[in-house]
């Protein structure tokens, strides 16, 4: 054999090396499964959330740390971007590496509970306290409570104080007033109203207060009531009081439009306070979303996240995790989180302490007892119907269909 061919054998061996490594890796996989001990003292909890941006990230770190101290554990906190959370949870489900404490966006709770990955909280004797009925329904799946939600938010009508004052217009309280005001406030580059009718769940979320307040229901959207709400949006668009771009705007885009003076009013939520504060010249006020007619109750969906205890198979850790979750809905945690992240307590009795510190939250706090869960009725079927709703909205707004036809097509799809 020549030196040349010996070199070739060496190269071939090197080429085959990755194989060996792959084999070695897959071999070691099984070994890591049984971590978490299970016996004796629990000194550390693995927490997963999606508060990965400030101020939420820091505020929640403070709240979590305080509860960790109370329960007497160290925290191993992981924050992923919002869009990655469900994928991460599914991945953890299948590899049996679920965290001890899991934060979920409230419409996702039932979906994950249905998969079997969450522990029913009744087994730990957790107390939901004064949390509003609507909020609890989103955390409940098949009569079992699976998560506790400390704070919430919803949407309302923001208006540019200066622009409305100049035009001599009062903030609208009914649909009729909304249409009149929006038309009167539309001039030049400024639209009267901005909202998000985008083809994502954000668009559905923005449409819900109009649809629900008018007596519509998500179980059957091919009704007069829902069509009435959609007609309002269509009229606002057709009359030019809203830009046609509403069908592509996310709520963040809407806040930008409002902040830069391209819209006199907007439908949006308190999580934009930070963005709006960046424009020092902007002065704005907030009122509830206008009702169909004077005296009607406005029913809005609620946002925010709930905390759950996944089925990790380690009873001792799960018990401590449950204790930790109980602490997160305690008064101190709720008030700190609400004030720090511009949200309102899900327990209306705690609202006063929060509104005192952040007066802008008043019109959001007022709505808490009437807030309605997106998943309250349809549970894990909600995503399908949420898609149908935003598709109908888009078909009516820019697809050339009448609200009735668009809704009928979406419902009977």
């Amino acid at each position: 054999m020549t030196r040349f061919s010996r070199a070739r054998v060496a190269i071939a061996a090197a080429a085959a090396l990755p194989l060996v490594l792959v084999a070695a890796c897959s071999g070691s996989d099984g070994g890591t499964d049984g971590d978490g001990g299970g016996d004796g003292d629990v000194t550390e909890l693995h927490v997963l959330d999606y508060y990965n941006n400030d101020p939420n990230k820091t505020v929640w770190q403070g709240v979590l740390d305080a509860c960790a101290a109370e329960v007497g554990v160290e925290l191993n906190r992981e924050s992923v971007p919002g869009g990655d959370l469900i994928a991460k949870v599914l991945q953890m489900s299948s590899s049996r590496t679920l965290p001890d404490v899991l934060m979920l966006d409230n419409p996702d709770v039932q979906q994950i509970a249905e998969s079997g990955a969450l522990a029913p909280l009744s087994q730990f004797g957790l107390d939901p306290g004064g949390i509003a009925e609507g909020v609890l329904s989103a955390s409940t799946y098949e009569d079992e409570l699976y998560a506790l939600q400390p704070v919430t938010n919803t949407i309302a009508l923001f208006y540019n104080t200066q622009v409305l004052a100049d035009a001599g217009i009062e903030p609208p309280t009914t649909w009729e007033e909304l249409e009149t005001a929006a038309a009167a406030l539309t001039e030049g580059d400024q639209y009267g109203l901005a909202l998000s009718a985008i083809n994502t769940y954000e668009g559905t979320w923005q449409f819900l207060p109009f649809m629900w307040s008018n007596g519509g229901d998500e179980a059957d959207i091919a009704t007069e009531e829902v069509a009435g709400a959609l007609q309002l949006w269509k009229d606002l668009l057709d009359s030019g009081s809203m830009s046609q771009s509403v069908v592509t705007w996310s709520q963040a885009d809407v806040a930008d439009q409002f902040s830069s003076g391209n819209a006199a009013m907007m439908v949006n939520g308190p999580w934009n306070f930070g963005t709006l504060a960046e424009n020092a010249e902007l002065e704005y006020g907030i009122v509830p979303i206008p009702a169909p007619a004077a005296g009607d109750t406005v029913v809005s969906p609620f946002g925010g996240e709930a905390w759950a205890v996944p089925q990790t198979g380690d009873d001792a850790r799960m018990a401590v995790a449950a204790e930790f979750v109980q602490c997160l809905v305690g008064e101190d945690a709720v008030v700190d989180a609400a004030v720090g992240t511009n949200t309102v307590p899900t327990d209306p009795s705690l609202s006063a302490a929060v509104v005192e510190q952040v007066p802008n939250l008043a019109s959001f706090a007022e709505q808490v007892p009437d807030l309605r869960a997106r998943t309250g009725e349809l549970g894990p079927e909600w995503p399908t119907q949420a898609t149908a709703i935003y598709e109908a909205v888009q078909n009516a707004l820019v697809g050339g269909m009448s609200p009735e036809d668009a809704l009928a097509q979406a419902q009977n799809g």
């Binding site: 061919s5 070739r8 054998v9 071939a12 061996a13 080429a15 085959a16 990755p18 194989l19 792959v22 469900i86 994928a87 599914l90 991945q91 489900s93 299948s94 979906q111 994950i112 249905e114 998969s115 079997g116 990955a117 580059d189 985008i198 083809n199 994502t200 769940y201 830009s243 046609q244 771009s245 069908v247 592509t248 391209n262 089925q311 894990p380 995503p383 399908t384 898609t387 598709e391 888009q394 078909n395 707004l397 820019v398 697809g399 050339g400 097509q409 799809g413």
Partner: protein, 319 residues
């Protein structure tokens, strides 16, 4: 390996010439070495191509939901996912859009790419610099590019419409991303912009391959300009053209990020394609079975073009 593939694979820079005769070895050890060299590639293919494809095919026949991830159970449901996918009112629209998007993108990319390749084929000052600048769209991350394009195409404040305002004969502003008729056009335009570098680069490589003498001989016979293109350039470029078109079709069929970034399939499903629809079913509605079924339909369509490619390729060799 065929000579066509060699040329394309190296961007047309490989010198043409007869293939080197394979050295034959009969010793068992030599054979072992050969196998050892093949194994990594084979394992790679099985692991990263074979497994996902098989998994996707089986998933299309299963009820695969969020529950599956925790319990590991995915009941077999036969063709139910395919029925759900195909009978969805969005499906017809998505199929049509996929066709229009692919044909529109390919026509634009190929024509402009070929024009640019021909233009740069005549060397001139700075042609090298300009040619490398053409590759820029390839270097911009798609998320960034689509954000910028959204800004350019904005109806009220976009730079495109602000420029169009200056035109006297144009009344009103086109709603590029918000009108159901224009949105698909806008998405195609952006995808054409994205695909030009690929087409131009490979076609330019193909042009380099055509021996200069042919043009000299042609010009003696009076074949210059358009005639030279028709009788010399086009016939000799045909192999490369086939590759560019077939690869282009396969790439375009599966485009996802461009559309998600610009319109997310909207407004009112006006830009929904099979791939965005599949993404929606899997990652928004968590119905992975239906999502996989749609993915498989897309793979089937791509496969048709792959077969066309192989056929044409074989014919080219036979010639």
């Amino acid at each position: 390996m065929t000579s066509t593939e060699v040329r394309v694979g190296s961007g047309g820079l490989a010198p043409p010439g007869p293939a080197r005769p394979a050295r034959r070895r009969s010793s068992g050890r030599g054979r072992l070495v050969q196998v050892a060299f093949l194994i990594p590639a084979a394992v790679y293919l099985v692991l990263f191509f074979g497994y996902p494809v098989v998994k996707n095919i089986t998933m299309g026949f299963q009820e695969y939901t969020t529950r599956t991830f925790y319990t590991g159970e995915a009941p077999w449901v036969g063709f139910a996912n395919y029925v759900t996918a195909v009978t969805d009112p969005v499906f017809d629209r998505a199929l049509l859009n996929t066709g229009l998007f692919t044909v529109g993108s390919i026509l634009g990319q190929f024509t402009i790419g070929l024009a640019i390749a021909l233009f740069f084929h005549r060397r001139f000052h700075l042609s090298g610099v300009l040619r490398s600048l053409l590759l820029l769209p390839w270097l911009v991350p798609m998320i960034a590019a689509s954000a910028v394009w959204r800004w350019i195409l904005d109806t009220d404040h976009g730079v495109l419409n602000r420029t169009l305002d200056l035109l006297p004969f144009l009344d009103g502003r086109p709603a590029w991303l918000t009108s159901t008729t224009l949105a698909l056009v806008a998405v195609i335009i952006v995808n054409i912009w994205l695909g030009i570098p690929f087409n131009a680069t490979i076609l330019y490589g193909g042009l380099q391959e055509i021996p200069e003498e042919l043009y000299e001989a042609g010009s003696l016979d009076g074949a210059t300009g358009a005639r030279a293109f028709r009788h010399i350039t086009w016939p000799l470029l045909r192999g490369v053209v086939t590759v560019v078109l077939v690869l282009g079709v396969v790439y375009t069929l599966k485009v996802l990020d461009v559309i998600l970034g610009l319109t997310n399939g909207g407004p009112a499903n006006a830009t929904q394609t099979i791939s965005t629809f599949s993404y929606h079913m899997s990652f928004r509605e968590f119905d992975f079975g239906v999502g996989a079924a749609l993915g498989n339909i897309l793979v089937l369509i791509s496969l048709v073009f792959a077969i066309v490619y192989l056929r044409l390729n074989r014919r080219a060799i036979d010639e």
